[in-house]
């Protein structure tokens, strides 16, 4: 089916279909506990056993998280139709540092961005006059503060932690980008990047219809949920095992608030690891239940998501090793600060 006929069908059946979908979603969401108990009762396991606990946890969390994720991704898919990397670049070009960093971080959340276009985006921004530090604010916020991470945190750990992650993630992107800008490291870019003065291409502006925006939301669900669902399932299965089998408070001594060194340890362990937010958050939630401190696990999570080896290998094409080292150091210190701050705030 072509996108055009799809759009027409959506616009014709829109009100009824949208209502139906929302109602079905709400019914499913309200039946999560009975559903999980019912599934476990069908299995030949004792409900009160450790395995029974783990299974009940899994069959409650997996559908719940997938339902919430679908909703959040759909919503963000629609919001993103108002934004594009080129428009964001036009908003940021020549912007003063400070204001520019804050705008870049915020736009990083809503601008459509895929990791395979990180390098073209970086060059496109810098060569069209977006300051280096402002570009970094965007590149730090875009992968770290995203709807998958926020939706999962909201579903599994609660809205207070999700909002705090949003606020601190943005702050980290603003401050780290600002610091990198202050250091004036333009000369540490790969030389060929500095030779490009393409400016910004003059693209025809398009205004999608409401039907096309809804289709974009559905496409986002198909693409993003289609890509991360097995991470979610895997993460929740790991979380369920921790939930059922790890003794209470085992982690309090090594990942608890008293162990200050666990925050830097979490950051260092997290850097070479590469996982999706979708896989890491269910584990984070289970660790929290076993006495790990919130700041420590969030620092681990941010480090895994924001600082990853594959990303650095990609960025190596445009940044010198020195500049990558500065980037890792500045963001790493920022994550440390966020970890310690969270441990102070959420006692």
């Amino acid at each position: 089916m072509s996108a055009a006929t799809q759009a027409k069908m959506v616009s014709a059946a829109r009100p009824a279909a949208a209502l139906g979908a929302v109602a079905a979603w709400a019914v499913l969401y309200s039946q999560l506990v009975p559903f999980s108990e019912w599934v476990v009762s069908l299995l030949p396991v004792e409900r009160q056993s450790r395995l029974g606990e783990a299974l009940a946890f899994f069959f409650y969390d997996a559908p719940k998280v997938l339902l919430l994720l679908t909703l959040v991704v759909f919503g963000m898919g629609i919001v993103r139709t108002w934004f594009s990397a080129e428009r964001t670049r036009a908003l940021l070009a020549g912007r003063r540092e400070g204001v520019g960093n804050a705008m870049a971080a915020a736009l990083g959340i809503v601008t459509p961005f895929c990791s395979c276009s990180a390098v073209p985006l970086f060059i496109g921004f810098v060569s069209a006059g977006v300051p280096l530090g402002v570009t970094f604010s965007f590149l730090i916020a875009a992968p770290m503060v995203n709807e998958v991470a926020l939706g999962l945190l909201f579903a599994l750990v609660g809205w207070r932690v999700a909002l705090s992650y949003l606020a601190f993630g943005l702050m980290l992107a603003v401050v780290a980008g600002w610091v990198i800008g202050r250091l004036k490291l333009e000369a540490w870019l790969e030389p060929w990047v500095l030779r490009i003065h393409a400016g910004a291409a003059d693209l025809p502006r398009t205004r999608p219809t409401l039907g096309e925006r809804l289709v974009a939301g559905l496409d986002a669900v198909r693409e993003i949920v289609g890509r991360v669902w097995y991470w979610v399932i895997g993460g929740i299965a790991a979380g369920a095992l921790i939930h059922g089998y790890v003794p209470e408070d085992l982690l309090a001594s090594i990942m608890g608030k008293e162990a200050w060194w666990s925050v830097p340890a979490a950051v260092i362990v997290g850097i070479p690891m590469y996982s999706n937010a979708a896989g890491i958050i269910p584990v984070v939630e289970a660790l929290l239940g076993k006495g790990a401190a919130l700041g420590t696990v969030l620092a681990f999570m941010m480090s895994v998501i924001a600082l990853s080896l594959p990303e650095m290998i990609i960025l190596r094409k445009v940044l010198s090793v020195k500049l990558i080292a500065v980037f890792v150091a500045v963001v790493g210190v920022g994550i440390l600060a966020v970890g310690f701050l969270f441990n102070l705030l959420f006692a």
């Binding site: 055009a4 990397a85 073209p120 496109g124 490009i196 291409a201």
Partner: protein, 78 residues
């Protein structure tokens, strides 16, 4: 003969874009040559900030995400 370039570092989305362009051209009955541009410096030279980008006869017409089918036909027949 239209000269179409697909700009992208070579992820799956850019690969499928080449096929989409060829299909649209075949449907519209337009003769096209489609080239893939994967070199970062060359991509950057077109002034886009997101991929895949589409260039028709040297002019950038699209950047980021899949284009609409009817737009694609309009660009290659214009």
């Amino acid at each position: 003969m239209k000269d179409v370039k697909v700009l992208g570092p070579g992820c799956k989305r850019c690969e499928t874009m080449v096929q989409i362009v060829k299909d649209a051209a075949a449907q519209a009955g337009v003769d096209v040559t489609v080239t893939k541009v994967t070199d970062y410096a060359e991509i950057a030279g077109y002034g886009i900030a997101s991929t895949p980008g589409i260039v028709v006869d040297g002019k950038v017409v699209h950047a980021g995400g899949p284009p609409k089918a009817e737009d694609l036909v309009r660009w290659i027949t214009a």
